[in-house]
């Protein structure tokens, strides 16, 4: 499947700001799309579209911070750069605590925004690569039989075949066969690689 091009979504109720940001991003060779409201963006946004968001804090209807909350509820991880002409510390802290990539006060220099957009696009690319990696691991995990999964869990806890056999009440030879299947299905070249895979899909503490 061909990767979609990265897009910067500018969400701002001010026509002049939207136009100037679109022109600025275009001049830097960055594809941009604009929306006049949070609702418009949320209705039209396709989660498979890579990129980042440049989001005004104060908008009529749903504010930028409310839209960030909604994006979090939907599990969307696109980096968000807030822009505002009336920012204060509690507002900036709230945005950052909820996962904003950056928070920029107007007026800002063009280059300042472009630098941050570039960093946000790199972050989005990294996030998506990580998600693809963990999705592949989960697919492989789903292909294991229940017994193979039990063997996987025990060997990645550091248990030797003999101990696994004792825990499961089967022969050591049977464990060896299951273990070989696990390595093959998980496409793991070593136990260390298998452990790394399990850590990558483990829930965060």
């Amino acid at each position: 499947m061909k990767d979609l091009p990265q897009t910067v979504f500018v969400v701002d109720d001010d026509d002049a700001v939207r136009d100037s940001l679109r022109m600025l991003l275009k001049s830097a060779g960055v594809h941009a799309e604009t929306c006049a409201s949070a609702q418009e963006f949320l209705t039209s946004y396709d989660a498979s579209q890579p990129g980042c968001l440049v989001l005004d804090v104060r908008m009529p209807g749903m504010s930028g911070l409310e839209m960030q909350h909604e994006l979090n509820l939907r599990g969307l991880t696109m980096p968000v750069i807030f822009i505002t002409g009336h920012g204060d510390i509690p507002m900036a802290v709230e945005a950052m605590q909820h996962g904003a990539f950056d928070f920029l006060q107007k007026p800002f220099r063009d280059q300042e925004l472009l630098d941050r957009v570039q960093r946000a696009l790199v972050r989005d690319m990294d996030n998506r690569a990580r998600l693809r990696h963990t999705d592949r691991i989960r697919e492989r995990l789903a292909s294991l039989s229940p017994r193979e999964r039990e063997v996987l869990d025990l060997v990645t806890q550091g248990k030797a075949n003999k101990m696994v056999a004792g825990d499961l009440g089967v022969s050591q030879r049977t464990v060896e066969i299951h273990r070989a299947h696990v390595m093959q299905k998980m496409e793991a070249g070593s136990l260390a690689e298998l452990v790394r895979m399990m850590m990558a899909v483990a829930p965060s503490p």
Binding site: D88, I89, A92, V93
Partner: protein, 138 residues
Amino acid sequence: MLAAEMGANENGIKGDREVQRVRTIIVAGQSSDRTREVLRALSGFTNVVWPTSLESALAQAGSQDAGCLVIADDLREEPIDEFLQEARELQRNLPIFVITDPDDVAEAVSAMRHGATAVIEIPPSYAALCEEVSRAMQ
């Protein structure tokens, strides 16, 4: 000589040598009016320490006794963001509060990017600081 070097200051704030086996509130900052104001604001807490050096502050932030870290002021030897990042690397879940001047949004955002749990503007938010610290120590 800093108050902490003498053991305790007039507010009963304890220095390096009197760290107890309780979760501590570590205040980092040079000897300045703002640091003293923060220490005064936290004088209701009994387990506040004001390390005499950044190395000592980091060691305490990395210890199991650390309850929270309050970065009160500029740190002469090291930029705040770097110190913050080092402290965060030592303890992923340690609540770290950074005190800034009012309306310095850029500094607040930078601190959040480098691992601060929250940024509190002082003055006027002494009450907010005490609230955050109380929550962190629960």
